[in-house]
Symmetry: C2
Amino acid sequence: MSNDKQVKEITSRDEDFGRWYTDVCRKADLVDYSNVKGSMIIRPYGYAIWENIQKVLDKMFKDTGLEFIQMPMFIPESLLNVEKEHVEGFAPEVAWVTHGGSEKLEERMCVRPTSEVLFCEHYSKIIKSYRDLPKLYNQWCTIVRWEKETRPFLRSREILWQEGHTMHATAEEAKEETLRMFKIYEDFQRNYLALPVIVGKKTEKEKFAGAEETYSLEAMMYNGVALQNGTSHYFENHFAKAFNITFLNKENKLETPYQTSWGVSTRMIGSIIMTHGDDRGLVLPPKIAPTQVIIIPIGNSDDIINLSNDIKEKLNNRNISNKIDNSDKTPGFRFAEAEVKGYPIRIEIGKRDLENKVVTLVRRDTLEKVQVNMDDVVEKVSELLEQIQKDMYNRALDRRNSMIYEAKDYKEMTEIANNKPGFIKVNWCGNVECENKIKEDLGLKSRCIIEDEEVNGPCVCCGEKAATRIYFGKQY
Amino acid sequence: MSNDKQVKEITSRDEDFGRWYTDVCRKADLVDYSNVKGSMIIRPYGYAIWENIQKVLDKMFKDTGLEFIQMPMFIPESLLNVEKEHVEGFAPEVAWVTHGGSEKLEERMCVRPTSEVLFCEHYSKIIKSYRDLPKLYNQWCTIVRWEKETRPFLRSREILWQEGHTMHATAEEAKEETLRMFKIYEDFQRNYLALPVIVGKKTEKEKFAGAEETYSLEAMMYNGVALQNGTSHYFENHFAKAFNITFLNKENKLETPYQTSWGVSTRMIGSIIMTHGDDRGLVLPPKIAPTQVIIIPIGNSDDIINLSNDIKEKLNNRNISNKIDNSDKTPGFRFAEAEVKGYPIRIEIGKRDLENKVVTLVRRDTLEKVQVNMDDVVEKVSELLEQIQKDMYNRALDRRNSMIYEAKDYKEMTEIANNKPGFIKVNWCGNVECENKIKEDLGLKSRCIIEDEEVNGPCVCCGEKAATRIYFGKQY
């Protein structure tokens, strides 16, 4: 058994979810705190997860024809001010650079909180004709938002992310692009991160500062709280007008192009932890785990070491990432460490196993053990990784579904909000007054509009005619 | 012929090298200027070169056992101040963040100009025992140095780079690591970028602020001016002492570990341009070119288009990156554009060629044309790419060698400095007074010490006994 100190130091998630989360982040060596208030250090194991995320998304993006670019990280104040709603949304939370060396700057600059205005300024120079459209750009970079309360991956002053910014000749094309990238996010989060995200449009109140429409991926954490896991925005031509971006169409007439932007960040790592993790630590979906298999030899005999190396080589040949933990710590300690780190499969190789020509595979997600014949080990590992990936998704889906409630009226909604963590599905009139009241009374924010369900009653809040179905929930 | 407007707009490099350089950067779509003073936009074609550089170096680093990490981008002033020489070197050129939103910060922070102090602070927490050593970390990130005069890739306020930071139990191990990474840089720059870099140790005056020893890669540009293309530093334990980093050795005694750091940046792209480029534009070494082959069909007949697609597919199967330029521009314009962009090989497919079952290959580096049989095209392209890579290196090497002069005395050194661009090899006493005098009189800085040549005369400057052979040269 792996009942070790390392695991015992993790707070139970049912006891104190917040502490459980930070315990897992630290004990699994994902992050460390630094003397830089509000900024975290992403340690090698955490960064390797981000590298895997980048690798997959990078390819998905390029396959759609996107090009990659690098914009400045600073935005002069006057440039940030060009689009009004945008500056109102972001100015309160930017970091201002006022001095270069010992000299005061003529105009202060903020560190980018997002780069719409930088892209627009560039687009205004390089877009002249319909031949220059569409422009499909993405950048991987770090952005800064001066948050007061911070938490590893969830809310940090520095955020690693990608931001895509595209320009199109027509509104239709821009809308298509908004949804194309949104769909890529959804596929990625479902199939790689095993997150059963709920997807839909944000309300007027909750959409991005300056956008016409915002689509959002809403993940539900173990404790029922929502984490907004990525957004895709359709801007119509709000920014393009503010920045005087125009192009000559085929008829040689000036038109204004249509724009999108979309982004996901290291916050997704927070979702993985809080959806799949348990009291023993991290549980990583195989498709995104930096180390899919940990091999733990029990004992130092040549036979055991040779077999470990042999299995390692076979796994390498199948492109299954793996490591041998041959340290001088006790087996129990090494098992516990493997559990804290969330390696999807652990292979235990002991003396008796060797005699019986078997090894033991342990699934991290269920902690189930299975003995397999030595010769079949790579085949079994490969099957099991696929099974774990599927099972993790389905378990998360079942759990999510079990925490979605329906409320017909305000009394019912209040009752659920006060007693049951999760999302609440309601009919809504579409007015921001009701949205605000629900936020104030119950601490719930609208998550996203449900497109594929028919209204089946009056507005849960005011009782007037409902316009749409919508999710409400607490959020990080 | 490709005598087109696009090429004519590039200033001749012999006429005005500075303008030639910025013309090439712009015309080849590598960068654009922005409203953010001192920061450049790296456009898709320029960024694709950087992605290729990252891909190769990333693997070389990981193959030596390095782990990747992400540190904060801000450094509180008190943290920057911990190591004295270091802060003196960097404080004059950092960007200071003084406000978060509308609030003044209690302590101002700079955007990292380099991250030694951040790594040291982290190391002081995670290094406790000899078992924790070595620590071998690298990060890819953007750094900021508040330069007054900026130039694309060469000197910019924002620099994309990697910085490696390692900690070791012994001085020997740290020195080995310093040189191991230095060697990787040298291999990479010679074999991938086709740059015949001169490598060696910096003088006391020119070494990195806080380092014990700095090793530098010195590339010589077409105009004879040096570009420092990367450095690797051995810190002894200067920082470790300043940061109180200690570990328990095997005998359970406290010791101070030894440290290295090393970095290369987008500046290498500047080297590629200024070493290999010509009056027609960029010339890219095949191993780092985002598009190794451009296929230009002349005419729109189905035969020609089918053959172009057929060649494309065959090149894809051989992992030779390529594009078809089938735009409605004239062949001459498309040839010129291919030259400006520096694609290593251009394949021209015309009607007459098709009848003769041949296609024309044009080398970008020499502009030589060769007709090859249709069936052999992929084989020939593959051979030619290798040949171009070699030839580019050798031409750069010959040119570099032809611009290295030897000076026995100060008169001769002055004569060369005033008349011949390039590097000057001299004997030197080792005193900073002579180094300063040469800088003041002749505008030359020491490049690096020549380890493998014996002193063969007195110091070129003071006439006293020489201690070493050394290169001097103008620098960017």
